[in-house]
């Protein structure tokens, strides 16, 4: 055992998440394995319904317990999340790992001020007086560069602009100095210029705090700004995983290729069209036995329909699950 290799902050093995509804079982995540190093930022990308949010929420066990079957191993900061008692779990949420959401207006309680909500979180995790907690909240708002933070503390969520609210959400998430930030499309609902500001802010805070980030998006443009490494999801599985530059230069999985070419290079020039991937996403209640992308893949062969391809390293740190890259190679 090599003692010099630092323990990763996140280690997920064979995670599967199935939702049981009245008539069917939705297989939202089907065997995801993911490792995130300390201080690293990983982007999960994929189209709508590919299981990105479900994977992210599983890391904090946020799914309703009654209707959800989670299997696999989740280790965060050395602790086994799957076996935590409910009190350990709620102490872990918000202190070791925090989450920010796509629509900050919906993620705040509308009838409490932003300040009250940050203070509530701070007091939940550190035994502080109201006054000290308020000071921590104020400091958190300052650290996300919100102008006139004293006044923002007293504002209700609906009284802020979208970008301001997302900053406040980040302040809430980071107020207790977590080690891991889970970001679920935090910029999707924002204007393009505000998006960039938020991404830059996250990048900066990540460096300052030595934070690890898992960043969910379906926009490669956002991933480029923030990610060290990218994992591409399809049908509840990670189909390709590589450092950002490698993935952009040498995408291997046909789905990744399609996803990358669906993105306008340096903005859409006049007359050029956004390439969309033909076909529709798989039905998660009736996933095929083989590769879920086979039905939409122009390279699909018989093997693709029969079995799911194993994970293959095409180069160091670059993994793909596709029958075009056989395991023996």
């Amino acid at each position: 055992m090599n003692l010099h290799v630092p323990q990763p902050i996140v280690s997920v093995r064979d995670l599967s998440v199935h939702f049981h509804s009245a008539s069917k079982i939705i297989s939202a995540v089907n065997g995801v394995s993911l490792t995130v190093a300390r201080g690293e930022s990983v982007a999960l990308i994929g189209e709508s319904g590919s299981g990105k949010s479900v994977t992210l929420r599983s890391l904090m066990r946020l799914h309703p317990e009654k209707t959800t079957a989670i299997k696999g191993r989740i280790e965060i900061d050395g602790a086994d999340v799957m076996t935590m008692s409910s009190s350990t779990l709620s102490a872990f949420r918000g202190s070791v790992t925090s989450m920010i959401f796509q629509e900050p207006l919906l993620a705040f309680d509308p009838v409490y001020t932003v300040g009250e909500q940050i203070i509530e979180s701070v007091r939940r995790h550190c035994r502080l007086s109201r006054k000290d907690a308020r000071a921590v909240a104020l400091e958190a708002l300052r650290s996300v560069r919100i102008p006139s933070p004293e006044q923002r503390l007293e504002a209700y969520p609906h009284e802020m602009s979208g970008g301001m609210r997302q900053r406040a959400m980040i302040a809430l998430a980071l107020a207790c100095k977590p080690r891991l930030l889970l970001a679920d499309e935090p910029t999707t609902a924002l204007d393009a210029t505000v998006q960039i500001q938020i991404l830059l802010l996250l990048r900066e805070l990540q460096r300052e705090m030595g934070l690890s980030i898992i960043f969910v998006t379906h926009d490669i443009g956002a991933a480029v700004e923030i990610a060290d490494r990218v994992a591409v999801m399809y049908g509840g599985r990670i189909v390709e995983e590589a450092p950002l530059a490698t993935l952009l230069a040498n995408p291997c999985h046909p789905y990744t290729v399609a996803l990358l070419s669906s993105r306008p290079e340096g903005g859409l020039s006049k007359g050029s069209r956004l390439e969309t991937i033909p076909g529709s996403p798989p039905d998660l209640s009736r996933l095929p036995e083989g590769c879920a992308f086979a039905a939409r893949c122009k390279y699909a062969s018989e093997a693709c329909k029969k079995s799911f391809p194993g994970r293959v390293a095409v180069s160091p740190e670059h993994y793909v699950s596709c029958h075009r890259f056989p395991e023996s190679a």
Binding site: S90, R93, M99, P110, Y156
Partner: protein, 317 residues
């Protein structure tokens, strides 16, 4: 906030005028001779004419209305034909009795309504939810006079626990908060409380279910709150609407309890309306309706202000 209240108060004036006109006209177009009840059947024509002049029935309607309104805004609602006492004091005594009853009934309703509502909302689609729903449907749909009579049969005539009818011990005047008086309130208050219980339960259930389905609940879990911490947020989100519904129920109970007050002979506005109608006591009828309407408008105003204070999303401009 001050400007908002002032605007709401100004808005209430035309509403009150409209209500005054409607209840004045309603009584005018009602069939029957208002003097039947005060005059002996064999009264002379002169006496009749005298009475008509005394009550002002000989003047044109608009003049009668203006005169009535002019007196009404000064608190003079005329004299009851049946009892010859001032309508104002009759109505006020009755209104206070009704208010006392309605208040107790609303409190009971609020308590049980919230209890059933929260349980049903938290345990949606389980047997607890269904049980609570059965209770609330029962509350809204059971005929109240029937329930009242049932309670009287069980608790008064069978078990001798509580008095069947009346507004206080025989011979006592006025009210006191002692058992001798309060025991008279219990059965009518329980009977009246089943409506607000049902309505508040259904409202609270919907509010709780709606709040629990919102994204920010996941946000609260994600920042480490447990169930009790989340409950606080649910309560604060549900409170403005639940309190508003409770306030309106208080208003309905004030005027809407004719049958229940009659069953229990509770000396409130319901009983007063009942006797005013059957005795063709026009001034009393008009006065009672008007005071009830006034009460409802004021209550609405209070509810709106309360809701504005409690819910930051409502603009106060």
């Amino acid at each position: 906030m001050g400007a908002y209240i002032l605007r709401r108060l100004l808005l209430a004036i035309p509403i009150m005028l409209g209500v005054a006109l409607v209840c004045f006209m309603l009584v005018q177009i009602a069939p029957g001779d208002p003097l039947v009840s005060v005059l002996p059947p064999d009264a002379s024509q002169e006496l009749r004419a005298q009475m008509i002049t005394a009550y002002g029935f000989d003047q044109p309607l608009p003049a009668q209305f203006m005169k009535w309104l002019w007196h009404a805004v000064q608190g003079d609602l005329g004299t009851s034909i049946a009892t010859s006492r001032p309508v104002f004091s009759e109505v006020m005594t009755a209104a206070i009795n009704s208010l006392r009853l309605a208040f107790l009934a609303t409190l009971i309703g609020f308590f049980f309504g919230c209890l059933f509502g929260f349980v049903a909302g938290y345990f949606q689609d389980t047997w607890l939810d269904r049980l609570a729903s059965v209770f609330s449907v029962f509350g809204v749909s059971v005929p109240h006079y029937w329930l009242g009579m049932l309670l009287v049969i069980v608790f008064s005539t069978q078990l001798y626990l509580l008095p069947a009818t009346g507004g206080g011990p025989v011979g006592a005047s006025g009210w006191a908060w002692d058992w001798a008086h309060v025991q008279f309130m219990i059965l009518p208050a329980i009977t009246l409380s089943v409506i607000p219980t049902g309505i508040i339960a259904r409202t609270v259930r919907a509010l709780v279910a709606e709040t629990l389905a919102q994204e920010f609940i996941v946000g609260l879990r994600a920042k480490g709150l447990g169930e009790s911490g989340i409950f606080r947020h649910v309560v604060k989100n549900a409170a403005p609407t639940a309190l508003a519904v409770m306030g309106l129920q208080l208003g309905y109970l004030m005027g809407g309890s004719i049958l229940v007050e009659t069953v229990f002979a509770w000396p409130g506005t319901g009983l007063l309306l009942n006797s005013a109608i059957f005795q063709r006591d026009l001034p009393l009828l008009q006065g009672t309706i008007w005071v009830l309407a006034l009460f409802f408008v004021v209550l609405n105003l209070l509810v709106d202000i309360l809701q504005t204070l409690l819910d930051p999303r409502i603009k106060r401009a």
